[in-house]
Symmetry: C2
Subunit: 482 residues, 2 copies
């Protein structure tokens, strides 16, 4: 049997076994079945030559007597729709010219895969991901799943994954926490919902960095949290400039998003003191600190605070793949009861399918090997991009960034005199480049001007081509007075 | 090398490669590295006998010169922490008796797997799930992922899965829709958020059945939607009793949750007319209609409406496994732009990992085979449970339910005179039975009294034992006047 025939066979079986006859209806069951079978042949699918299920099997599936099925089959044989082959069963007749399939409803073609455009930020290189190794981890976890995977799921997520994350944070982020403090999420937007709905309650105010992450502001808006924006300076957020008794501050101290600024220790201490004074929470969003190429990273802010009033947010979207939809929260002991209540009530949104595989992938060391490999790759890509853009050094501040997956290049005054970062990104988009304007991350007036250039997901050829296009474009902009 | 040694090796490598030295710090890099290595040996992990990475490799990973690493290794060799074996490299010395591991922070033991207690409802039988077949589908999808899986993900989900769901709905639910109308979600609670945040906006009122699903009311509450409760009767929700111009009605017409009542055609037409009159949406939550054992199901309400003002909600949690966290919305064409805006903004929360596997699992026919198998299994389990409880027929209304995964047995007057459904479920919980009280699904006064008994996830022995305990308990309650 060919694959196509097998597929038609399976489709016919599915359609037949899904038939439901009305036992209370006045028409006899046999007449209903005959009519249903006839409609099926007229439904547009080409079942000619397909074998029908044995009458005994169909009778059992439809909860009718075998006589009913045999009667219906016989009727359709006499009408020429079906034919019998002795010893092989009953088949849909071939060459039924009056069974013209009806015109199909027009179906839009499936979207073609969308490639990432050069300079799209926040996307990891996925062609270097160890797909075969990963797929074996998934297969092994689910071929004979352990009892724990089939029983009542812990609303905080798969315990061995939480253990693996705890070990990772200890080694890479100097954050000492127990697996019990880790809550697996489907990513940052769910994490913010858990924090603002589950820990803080309605109508609270969150202090938020400006510029900052637009999605995060959208989530706060959607859950009804008020936002108090504070413009950052060259050292990130300054607690002295928070003039509102917010109930939480959401910060990216390791690497401010999107500028890449690292908050120095004095600022961190000041922020913790502010939180202490206002009995506020600190939410540390640490999104790609693992990709540090040089220098000495400060330990996580949550580690500095020993997780007393800090919540730490991490994700595997940038470290491994956005396809996972796996992130996590590290929660202070004092908030664990609230987290338990919230997660038990609303349930986890993180799929369990990747969780045991991710745990064993981390435990095996494959995760650390991959991170180190990507660290080397991204470091090279960043220097390549910067050297390819060297001709624009009078227009853009192209200082190397000691970490991350993108650079945020401030527009120099010369360029700011002739254009805006948004005009550049709009023009670049028409050329097939997906940069982001730094100012589009701001809400407060007079936003800083710069270009966010993602390099992680693009090889050196792609980066060179993108850099050429961008250089040409910037040249045009710098020669046009606005 | 044994597995344990391999694991220690990998742990040591991870710890070493994660070291970060401060290039700006006054202490020399070599002194920093020596100190870091020394601390690592004292950290509590037993690395004795583990090989250190080659100095060239570690130098590259840490971005220091090879001389720095060789210097640090030499220092620790002279101190006796490391030893060299000519031709094989440098190793952590064994028998370092002064390296007593520090006392470990006490760690709560991992939770043991939680089994489902008898009569827990809404849980499918997972031991009959074709795990090996499923795990091969996952493995195949990700061993060499197609470009589409690695590119920019469609925020509505993996297209072939949406096609498979469209085919399933056509065959099983008489719902004719295009794959383009399907949005993959992480389950019903996200689906309600998309509808109420994305389609209706803040401060709208939703008409909700009473009794109904408590989680759904919680989600509406969390997103700020007002709830107008309408008590159902023996035919489900009656549009004539809706005395509020709500902007949506959320209904379970195929099988009211939790009573199992099916809404007759006249009521469905009246509800659609109500929606037309008030320009309201109908949200049809269809959670386990595939498990129908007899009789003639009405087509889906959304199908009756041709998806003009109806949104259809489905999920694989009950059909396959709650571990998937995969559900879906079917959206009227008129709402597709709103859906596109919302999903592009907030992103999908459904993991992509199970999606291609689920699509091929459905296309292969394995899904339909599994549904049919479970349909037979659940039908048998339901009749077994009802016959095992036959002795309580004077206390509970044990009418068979033509579909579903639980029965909702009303308390007869005799039992209502002596107790409440909540008193019974509380007492049953102490005996290890997890029934739900029908009244706990109500908010309006004078709720109906009944017991929700899940049978799907329990074999006949478990059901018999549970039924025995429950019968004994009900006997005690009926003999005690309250």
């Amino acid at each position: 049997m060919s694959n196509i025939q097998k597929k038609e066979q399976s489709n016919l079986d599915v359609a037949l076994f899904a038939l439901l006859l009305d036992h209370s209806h006045s028409a006899s069951l046999q007449a209903q079945l005959t009519e249903a079978l006839r409609s099926l042949l007229l439904s547009g699918s080409d079942y000619s030559g397909t074998r029908l299920p044995a009458s005994r099997v169909l009778a059992q599936e439809l909860s009718v007597s075998r006589t009913t099925v045999v009667g219906a089959y016989d009727q359709l044989i006499s009408e020429g729709y079906f034919k019998t082959m002795v010893g092989s069963g009953t088949f849909v007749a071939e060459n039924l010219p009056h069974l013209v399939p009806p015109v199909q409803k027009s179906v839009a073609p499936p979207e073609t895969p969308q490639a990432w455009l050069p300079f799209h930020s926040g996307v990891p290189e996925q062609t270097l991901f160890p797909h075969r190794v990963w797929s074996r981890h998934v297969e092994r976890a689910w071929a004979r799943p352990s009892d724990g995977l089939l029983g009542r799921a812990d609303p905080f997520g798969w315990y061995p994954l939480r253990q693996a994350i705890s070990a990772h944070l200890k080694a890479w982020r100097k954050l000492d926490c127990q697996a019990e403090q880790i809550v697996i999420t489907s990513g940052a937007s769910e994490a913010f919902e858990i924090i603002f709905r589950g820990f803080l309650g309605p109508k609270q105010t969150a202090v938020v960095e400006d510029p900052g992450w637009p999605l995060m502001r959208d989530v706060l808006d959607a859950v009804g949290t008020k936002v108090h924006l504070v413009r950052i300076d060259q050292h990130g957020l300054d607690a002295a400039r928070i003039n509102h008794p917010g109930s939480a501050a959401i910060v990216t101290p390791s690497r401010h998003y999107p500028t890449g600024i690292s908050m120095p220790l004095s600022r961190r201490m000041a922020l913790l003191a502010w939180a202490e004074r206002h009995d506020a929470l600190i939410v540390e969003d640490d999104y790609d600190s693992e990709f540090r190429y040089q220098g000495h990273p400060l330990p996580s802010l949550a580690g500095l605070d020993s997780l007393k009033r800090s919540i730490y947010l991490g994700s595997f979207s940038k470290l491994l793949s956005p396809a996972l939809r796996i992130g996590y929260l590290v929660v202070p002991d004092s908030l664990l009861p609230s987290a338990q209540r919230y997660m038990s009530r609303f349930g986890s949104r993180a799929s369990l399918i990747p969780q045991p595989a991710l745990a064993s992938f981390m435990d095996s060391g494959a995760f650390a090997v991959h991170l180190r490999r990507m660290r080397r790759t991204y470091a090279k890509r960043q220097s390549h991009l910067i050297s390819e853009l060297a001709g624009c050094a009078d227009l853009l501040d192209l200082s190397p960034d000691p970490s991350g997956m993108h650079i945020c290049a401030a527009l120099r005054l010369k360029l700011q005199k002739t254009t805006t970062d948004k005009a550049i990104t709009d023009a670049a988009f028409k050329e097939g480049l997906h940069l982001k304007a730094l100012s589009s991350h701001s809400v407060l007036p007079d936003p800083p001007q710069g270009l966010v250039l993602g390099y992680a997901a693009f090889n050196e050829t792609e980066l060179s081509q993108g850099a050429q296009k961008l250089s040409r474009l910037l040249g045009q902009f710098s020669n046009t007075l606005r």
